[in-house]
């Protein structure tokens, strides 16, 4: 179970620099810091202000000038959102959906990515092109029939109607294929075959250990995506039935339970905070994953 440092140690060591002119990674000047500081401020301020608004009364939030410092009402708003609007149930639903989608996407994407990267079979390149092409099809093309189907099955407001269509994603297959083509030497697979290992053994003992860092990153990316997914859940689930956080938020935004903007923004805070905590802890790995998935396509 040794951890493979593969993805994190991608940059060259930055210690031994003798000539200051060597290397194009020049030191940033003051202007660069000012601009980056501004970018960070613009990125983080709306999130900070979400917290501020969630800690005031509704009357205060809708009065100019808008509050800029946290107020005393955060716990009251949280308890209202939790008890009256049932954000707790939505939080559990979202965790279940995002967890299942992430698990199954990682598993199926790794298997398919391995096949596309390292197993010879007829039609491989055509099928891979098809996988990539499916990424351009917007979900709008499928929601009407899917809605008819889940209505017939009585699956409106049932979580399986948002989990099943997302069991595996083209993006994940492509992501794993790109990673394995770099990280998994052909010789390793061939050697295992010569030793008489069948495909399941190879998956378990060769592919999974090599793919583990990429599987973790893909899992996080898919989890974030599933957590924040809006269009289809908004159609398949209802705010007052069995919603995910995003659907519950849509109900709040439309004024279903309250027009108290502090409560609405407390709902937004509840939906955002878990992911922000994950980002604060694992941010560097997620950054690494996004950049790793994007190069060489």
């Amino acid at each position: 179970m040794a951890r493979t440092p593969g993805t994190t140690a991608s940059g060259p060591p930055r210690v031994r620099r003798l000539r200051p002119s060597a290397g194009r990674q020049r030191h940033a000047g003051p202007l660069a810091y000012v601009l980056l500081g501004l970018a960070a401020l613009l990125s983080l301020f709306p999130l900070y202000w979400n917290l501020v608004a969630a800690s005031h009364t509704g009357e205060r939030v809708v009065k100019a000038p808008a509050p800029l410092l946290p107020g005393p009402r955060l716990l009251d708003n949280l308890s209202f959102a939790w008890n009256q609007v049932d954000m707790g149930e939505a939080l559990v639903n979202t965790t279940v959906v995002a967890g299942l989608v992430a698990l199954s996407t990682v598993l199926f994407s790794t298997l398919a990515g391995f096949a596309f990267a390292r197993l010879p079979f007829k039609g491989r390149s055509a099928l891979l092109a098809l996988v990539v092409a499916t990424m351009t099809i917007p979900p709008q093309l499928s929601v009407i029939p899917l809605y008819e189907i889940i209505t017939d099955l009585g699956w409106v407001d049932q979580l399986q109607s948002v989990v099943l269509p997302s069991l595996v994603a083209a993006f994940g297959v492509f992501f794993m294929r790109q990673y394995l083509i770099e990280a998994l030497p052909v010789e390793l697979v061939e050697a295992a075959r010569v030793d008489g290992a069948h495909s399941l053994r190879i998956i378990w003992h060769v592919v999974f250990p090599v793919a583990r860092p990429a599987m973790a990153v893909l899992g996080m990316l898919v989890f974030v995506q599933a957590w924040n997914d809006f269009f289809w859940p908004f159609i398949a689930l209802t705010p007052d039935g069995n919603p995910t956080l995003q659907v519950a938020l849509a109900g709040l935004g439309a004024g279903n339970h309250t027009v108290d903007q502090a409560v609405v923004l407390t709902g937004a805070l509840i939906s955002t905070l878990p992911l922000l905590l994950v980002f604060a802890v694992l941010g560097r790995h997620i950054v690494g994953g996004i950049t790793a998935g994007a190069v060489k396509n």
Binding site: Q140, F231, R284
Partner: protein, 338 residues
């Protein structure tokens, strides 16, 4: 990676060598699968032949059930007059021709296009600049990278609800700040262009950092000699950025442009929630109704599934058209180059 090599057993030597060793080994010539015969080799061959298809099957089955079948069925519906739960009546291209004469359709198409433009172009340009800055040797680079990615972790719904307050015409912080600078308050909700700019701001806020990190990865893969050669030729930093960095990462720029275009075509949640109680119609005067919103309104408010399906297919055709034009341009460019 050491563990994985060990996990493969004794295969640490070059793969060709052990095979030859074994066939030259004790007595029996070639003990590899073909020699074993019977059930085992059949299984082995089956394993080699069938398993790749088994591994890719989950994707294609999921796509067939939840992507391809609905796509075709939506096409069939678009040729009919259908209400939810009702019988379908053949209508030919009627749904499409009534779209062609519908001012709501052309309005939604134009809004999708303008919001797409306002949200994509500045976003990608700012992402390029941001990536360039992040590519410097920095103190606190980890912080900056995670900070600009934080909006990506925020959902459409949460971000839009926050921005709807910040953009509020009467008490929003943005108008307050504009007031300090001496500007009159802007009507961010019911005026067309301000509303479209506000919605584009939400999109831009959520995706700029993400795209910047993608560009950053591409920039770090640009060979260093290119910069050294350019520096020797006396190229300034700006010159290097324009004539070395940009051309080197052109494929990545194209990739993000394609992804952003696809996203812009589908824009739904931001205008819906920004509009509050009049979100589905894209504001009281449809001033920011997108194609997706119009489709939702037709399908789930009016109950005209045939028309909604036609709008969905128009979206697909638009994307195909854009994709086709892109291929055409790159072909032309390649021809010019050669």
């Amino acid at each position: 990676m050491a563990t994985s090599v060990r996990a493969a057993g004794d295969g640490s030597a070059p793969p060709a060598a052990p095979v030859r060793d074994r066939s030259a080994g004790p007595g029996s010539p070639s003990r590899r699968p073909p020699g074993r015969g019977g059930l085992r080799s059949t299984l082995h061959r089956l394993d080699l032949k069938a398993v790749p298809y088994v591994f890719v099957a989950p994707f294609f089955l999921t796509f067939a059930a939840f992507g391809l079948f609905p796509l075709i069925y939506t096409g069939w519906l678009s040729l009919h007059r259908v209400e939810l739960g009702g019988e379908a009546q053949w209508k030919g291209l009627g749904n499409y021709s009534s779209l062609a004469t519908s001012e709501f359709f052309w309005n939604a198409l134009a809004n999708t296009f303008t919001i797409g433009l306002i949200s994509t172009v500045p976003q990608l340009l700012m992402a390029l600049g941001l990536a360039h800055l992040l590519n410097y040797e920095l103190r606190g680079r980890g912080f900056f990278r995670v900070a600009v990615l934080a909006p990506y972790a925020t959902s459409i719904a949460a971000a839009t609800l926050v921005f709807a307050q910040l953009f509020n015409t009467d008490y929003g912080l943005i108008n307050t700040v504009l007031g300090w600078a001496g500007f009159a308050p802007v009507d961010w909700e019911s005026s067309k262009w301000p509303a479209q700019i506000a919605i584009s701001t939400i999109v831009t806020w959520r995706w700029t950092g993400y795209n910047a990190l993608i560009y950053l990865a591409a920039m770090q893969a640009v060979p260093q000699d290119l910069y050294e050669a350019a520096a020797l030729d006396g190229a300034s930093r700006l010159r290097q950025f324009l004539s070395v960095t940009i051309p080197s990462i052109r494929p990545t720029i194209l990739f993000t442009a394609v992804v952003s275009t696809i996203g812009a075509t589908q824009l739904f949640g931001e205008p819906l929630l920004f509009g509050g109680s009049v979100g589905i119609s894209g504001g009281s005067g449809n001033q920011f109704q997108t194609l997706s919103l119009l489709m939702y309104e037709k399908g789930w408010v009016t109950g005209a599934l045939g028309q909604a399906s036609a709008i969905a297919w128009v979206m697909l055709l638009l994307l195909l058209l854009i994709g086709g034009l892109r291929t055409l341009f790159s072909r032309l460019r390649a021809k010019e180059g050669s």
